[in-house]
């Protein structure tokens, strides 16, 4: 079997990144190649997902070594959807970067590491064994370390040192969990693990490993109480980088939690998934409190990331097809909206030179398009129908009521309200009132090129709301595939 299509979303950015190293001093060539590569990447992941949709789960056995022994890549619908989303975010942030990234940063390998980051992200989505998940995490993290310090301002150096150390510590914990898992089951292949753990007696030690893995992924996904590194480290880097981090990186942790807790550790749901449920509620609530308390555009958005990761995890914790479908819909919505919100923060920063809300004001007069686009994304994030945020949330809340989990439903509704409050507050501070920046009227900053990558994202948000029915039934299919691990296992071992 030769399913190179499975590996394309990993190989294309990798090859592109390598080729870009050669052209580090030629800005135009770099931009041409990276733009082309990003579109090819997006196209290839759509192609992959279409294939998976038609033919069922696809696998690729690297080096022709068969399943439990060799390195294996598995593309199911969920992984396919995630690669598409990472492609969309990748293209949008890249085009934003063209207009905003400093020339010096281009010379210091901005584009190669951008593509290595995408390699790691897509690899983590598509890998079929947990050690390779670790490896692709590292590919992603090392690229993110470099992107986050790029430019080397004092603030960046200080905050990234903490970011780096925390992530290295998480990686070490990941390895420890892998060591335990390997000694318990003798395998690291996801499908094989699922089989072996299903056969084994459910002793407490499996719970230990499950929680250890949960801690590791929670650190990457910024769950309560391991979110403390996120707000400050996402504040420093340039907008394009902060946007791709905000859109993608935490979602990789969420993806890993979904993968492990729908495929491998599903035999002690009472324990593991109630821990996850508690974390979901706490993450949502603490995250939104941070967002309400802050007065800085980017800090608010960073806390919003944390809070909305809670929603996704809540869908998993309820563990019914309807709830998981809602969570998947929510992930798709959140990646698109979060990226665009970070890009708005970049645009307003470009106009006013600050991200402090109290120093901005009155932008709606000079830049009406920007204001209303932001308004669309903001209320989409808060979950106002008919925009995209509503439907995922609605499904999860209905599922929560079905399950009798009234506390989490209450928290999620409250958090929705507070999200609306904090987004409207940004809108009022930034776009209403009297302009506080001098010379605003006579000499408006040309923002059309900056808005170009944002408009498709905003259009997607609206489209996801208008066409919620087909997209939700697609999420439903993904959820059913996730909740039926035998499909995954059979496709890996091929009877």
């Amino acid at each position: 079997m030769n399913n190179i299509v499975v590996l394309l979303p990993v190989l294309i950015p990798f090859v592109a990144g390598v080729i870009l190293i050669f052209f580090k001093n030629f800005s135009t060539i770099q931009r041409t190649i990276s733009g082309l590569a990003a579109f090819i990447l997006l196209f290839s992941s759509v192609f992959l997902t279409y294939h998976v949709y038609q033919d069922g789960i696809l696998t690729l056995e690297a080096g022709n070594w068969s399943a439990p022994f060799g390195i294996i890549f598995v593309a199911d619908l969920f992984a396919g959807l995630m690669t598409i989303l990472s492609g969309i975010v990748g293209v949008a942030c890249l085009f934003f970067a063209y207009k905003t990234i400093h020339k010096d940063r281009e010379k210091f390998y901005f584009y190669p590491f951008y593509f290595f980051l995408l390699t790691g992200v897509n690899g983590a989505f598509l890998t079929g064994d947990i050690f390779n998940l670790f490896v692709f995490f590292e590919v992603m993290l090392i690229s993110s370390y470099i992107l986050i310090v790029m430019g080397g301002t004092k603030y960046q150096l200080r905050e990234s040192f903490k970011y780096v150390v925390i992530n290295i510590f998480a990686s070490a914990l990941f390895l420890i969990a892998l060591a335990f898992l390997y000694s318990l089951t003798g395998t690291l292949n996801f499908a094989h693990l699922a089989q072996r753990i299903a056969e084994a007696e459910q002793t407490g030690v499996f719970n230990v490993v499950a929680i250890l893995l949960l801690i590791v992924f929670a650190m990457k996904a910024a769950l309560f109480p391991l979110y403390f590194w996120l707000p400050n480290s996402y504040y420093g880097p340039p907008t394009a980088i902060a946007a791709i981090f905000g859109g993608l990186l935490t979602k990789v942790g969420v993806y890993a939690i979904f993968r492990v807790f729908t495929l491998v550790f599903i035999h002690n749901i009472d324990f593991t998934h109630s821990v996850i449920l508690f974390l979901a509620g706490a993450t949502m609530f603490v995250g939104i409190l941070g967002a309400v308390a802050k007065f800085d555009f980017r800090h608010i958005l960073s806390y919003q990331i944390i809070s909305h990761v809670g929603y996704m995890i809540m869908g998993l914790a309820l563990f019914t097809p309807y709830a998981i479908a809602g969570a998947i819909f929510y992930i798709a919505h959140d990646m698109i909206v979060k990226t665009s919100l970070f890009l708005y923060a970049g645009v307003t920063q470009k106009i006013t030179g600050t991200t402090d809300l109290t120093k901005m004001g009155g932008l709606l007069r000079t830049y009406p398009l920007l204001g209303w686009l932001f308004f669309i994304s903001a209320i989409a994030l808060a979950g106002i129908p008919p925009l995209s945020g509503f439907f995922g949330k609605f499904a999860m809340i209905v599922a929560g009521l079905d399950q009798g989990q009234y506390i989490i439903v209450f928290i999620s509704l409250l958090v929705g309200l507070l999200t609306l409050y904090s987004m409207i507050r940004i809108f009022i501070y930034v776009f209403w009132g009297e302009p506080k920046i001098e010379n605003d009227k006579d000499n408006p900053v040309k923002i059309m090129p900056l808005l170009l990558p944002i408009i498709p994202l905003a259009a997607l948000t609206i489209a996801m709301g208008v066409f919620a029915e087909p997209i939700f039934s697609f999420s439903m299919e993904i959820a059913e595939q996730l909740l039926d691990p035998s499909q995954y296992i059979e496709s890996v071992f091929k009877e």
């Binding site: 090392i142 004092k154 603030y155 150096l157 510590f169 990686s171 390895l175």
Partner: protein, 112 residues
């Protein structure tokens, strides 16, 4: 032998934990290096030690060492090699920019 190895790994990891919690950047970096060593040792031990046996060569070998953990550790070593180099440079640059290697002074204030 397993007990000895596990105790060693435990000691290394606890020392590295201590170093990670100190205030000097360089010591934190040393903590990272030690932590990765301790973890690699743990992987090797958890997979089962077969003192002196070679990795599997033929199917009728009576005792063999599992080659997979060694491959895992090699991968992990390569990764930690790269990461260590990066953290060293990062720590050095931070020291140069801020003129201090005391993490307490690098805390920054909450309102930035």
């Amino acid at each position: 032998m397993e007990i000895l190895m596990i105790v060693t790994a435990g000691i290394i990891i606890s020392v590295s934990t201590y170093l990670l919690l100190t205030r000097s950047i360089l010591r934190v970096v040393f903590g990272i290096v030690l932590l990765s060593h301790g973890v690699h040792l743990l992987i090797l031990t958890m997979a089962g030690l077969m003192g002196g046996s070679p990795p599997l060569l033929t199917e009728d070998a009576s005792s063999y060492t599992d080659p997979l953990p060694q491959a895992l550790i090699l991968t992990a070593i390569v990764i930690s090699f790269g990461v260590t180099a990066f953290v060293l440079v990062l720590g050095y640059r931070t020291y140069k920019e801020h003129k201090t290697d005391d993490l307490d002074q690098l805390r920054g204030n909450g309102d930035e």
